[in-house]
């Protein structure tokens, strides 16, 4: 029935295997692998919460930025902890975003009626990466300086239009940090819009994991922040380019990759890395359309039988059913005067609405209720016949 062949699909087998292992550790409805999107959203709000505290102490100027972060870390009660939670929370968010992305992709939950969620999800993934990287620029230590320079090389060089746009002029000034701060805080607001788009086609989206799982995940982040306290490197000096930096592998793998490629490609490694990343993003955008498939089995309403009880519209997970006033010419059953209407491009062809309809007023065209009933009759009739004697060998 489906185009997607599960038994030969490696990704599907991997996730089934992982699920099975986690189902032995957790009850089914607490399995963290079933809440990857909800956990990502949880850490998004966790990072926003801790980020507000950091914002209260942050001063976006070249002279004060580094010292304000150090003041927060050293002097403010629990400042070190909040800074650590902000960083490790962001790392955890990226981990779960990536797992969520791979899961919906490999288990075939990304195309057809889910393509809007996939498109907005790719935007969210890119924005998550940008938001994470921009956070490292604000600390204003040697790592920030290196990252800014490398980003400038990626977009073409320090004195190109994009390079100047990034730092706000030929030189790094106070305004550079102001625009990075705006970027770091503005992106989450943009993400809210795309999150809305991400959820809009889902009836009853699950946006948070269960409370016990939440506590467990927060516990892991707290332990990480206690075991590996976050530290700044030496303050940045724009006149002197540092040669090495501490790497956060979650967000800075692109930079590490570009620096590694530099030994083969020279300075061109940076724009090439950037182009490769952009190309991958574009490919991801196109993915649901490359493997679209066709809507052959969209459910059909039989208006004469529909009573307007709304069970199908309530149960439909893809918001593909809406109730409309009974069109003229159809004699309405029931007193509500409404019947169900299908929005074909949102239909998942799953038949959940068929199971919800007590009146048989909605059907999958390729697998009708009559066919199922006939199959049941065939099976029971065959079983009632006397058994065929087994041929003697």
């Amino acid at each position: 029935m489906s185009v997607y062949n599960k038994t030969v699909n490696l990704g599907w087998r991997i996730w089934s295997w992982v699920d099975d292992k986690f189902n032995r550790l957790y009850p089914q409805d607490y399995n963290p692998m079933y809440y990857l999107g909800g956990i990502s959203n949880l850490f998004f709000w966790f990072v926003i919460g801790t980020g507000i505290v950091l914002f209260l102490y942050y001063k976006p100027s070249l002279e004060d930025a580094y010292h304000s972060v150090e003041y927060l870390t050293q002097k403010v009660p629990y400042g070190q902890a909040v800074r650590g939670l902000h960083r490790y929370g962001a790392d955890a968010m990226l981990v779960f975003v990536v797992l969520h992305w791979l899961r919906v992709w490999w288990t075939d939950r990304y195309r057809k009626f889910r393509s809007l969620a996939w498109i907005s999800g790719v935007v969210l993934l890119v924005l998550t990466l940008l938001m994470g990287v921009s956070g490292y620029l604000l600390v204003w230590d040697e790592r920030s300086l290196m990252l800014i320079r490398m980003t400038q090389w990626m977009v073409g060089g320090e004195h190109t239009w994009l390079g100047k746009l990034l730092v706000g002029g030929d030189k790094i000034t106070d305004y550079t940090l102001t625009r990075f701060l705006f970027f770091h805080i503005g992106v989450p607001f943009l993400m809210l819009f795309f999150l809305w788009m991400h959820y809009i086609r889902i009836n009853r989206p699950v946006v948070y994991p269960p409370a016990l799982l939440t506590l467990q995940l927060f516990g892991i982040v707290f332990v990480a922040c206690y075991l590996f306290p976050t530290v700044s490197m030496a303050p940045a000096n724009p006149e002197q380019m540092p040669q090495a930096m501490l790497v956060d592998w979650f967000y800075q793998w692109g930079y590490v990759g570009a620096a590694w490629l530099q030994q083969f490609l020279g300075h061109a490694a940076y724009p090439i890395t950037c182009l490769v990343l952009v190309a991958i993003s574009v490919l991801l955008f196109a993915l649901p359309y490359l493997t679209q498939g066709s809507y052959l089995n969209v459910v059909k309403v039989i208006p004469e039988k529909c009573t307007g009880c709304e069970y199908c519209a309530i149960d439909c997970h893809a918001n593909a059913i809406r109730m409309i006033p009974t069109p003229p010419g159809i004699k309405a059953r029931g007193g509500k005067g409404i019947i169900a209407e299908i929005l074909p491009t949102r239909c998942a062809e799953c038949g959940i609405c068929v199971g919800a309809c007590p009146f048989g007023a909605i059907e999958l065209p390729l697998f009708t209720e009559d066919q199922v009933v006939a199959r049941i009759q065939e099976i029971t009739a065959r079983a009632k016949q006397p058994q065929q004697p087994v041929a003697a060998e």
Binding site: R13, S16, D19, H317, C350, K384
Partner: protein, 181 residues
């Protein structure tokens, strides 16, 4: 309709069981004969459906009225339904707490309802096929061993938990009921 008489008809294969299998849940293709029965259990006939939420309780009632001795529905694990909530819906319908519900004997089905020990819901991930077949074997043996009607059953009103699994029939034990495990 009498379950009692039908179970006494000689059937060398074992009790006739009809299963509704979600095509995203446990993958049984490798374990199935061409006519839709399980290779290990030729008395189990499988009807593949796109989602466990597609299964209508009326079909289960019809199958039992026409002589099937057991019916099961298999969906994906709770929360992991490929279509989000289909397995939750069918679980609640089997328990009689969601419309359209399965009319259980002693529950909302009154005296003419379906014997709850003949109906099971399984929620199995893709790779747990062999484990699933083992459990089906147990179900089959249980039906073969205790093909008799049971007393009144109370529907579970509270959140029933992930697995719909009736307690094994024990004539001397407490009143049978639907449990969660």
């Amino acid at each position: 309709m009498s379950d009692h008489q039908q179970s006494e008809t000689p059937n060398s294969r074992g009790p006739l069981i009809i299963g509704f299998l979600c095509e995203w849940a446990a993958q049984l293709d490798e374990y199935m004969n061409e006519d839709g029965t399980l290779a290990a259990l030729p008395n189990v006939h499988i009807i593949k459906i796109p989602c466990s939420g597609y299964c209508k309780p009326a079909w289960i009632e019809q199958a039992i009225q026409q002589g099937a001795e057991g019916v099961w529905v298999c969906g994906c694990p709770m929360v992991d339904c490929h279509y989000r909530e289909g397995n939750i819906f069918i679980r609640d319908r089997l328990l009689g707490i969601r419309n359209p519900y399965l009319r259980l004997k002693g529950g909302r089905g009154g005296a003419r309802g379906v014997d709850p020990h003949r109906v099971r819901g399984y929620f199995k991930a893709g790779v747990s096929s062999e484990e699933f077949i083992r459990e089906l074997k147990e179900f089959s043996e249980e039906l073969a061993g205790h093909p008799i009607e049971l007393g009144p059953i109370k529907p579970v009103r509270e959140h029933p938990g992930p697995v719909l699994d009736p307690t094994p029939y024990n004539p001397t034990g407490p009143e049978p009921r639907l449990t969660s495990s």
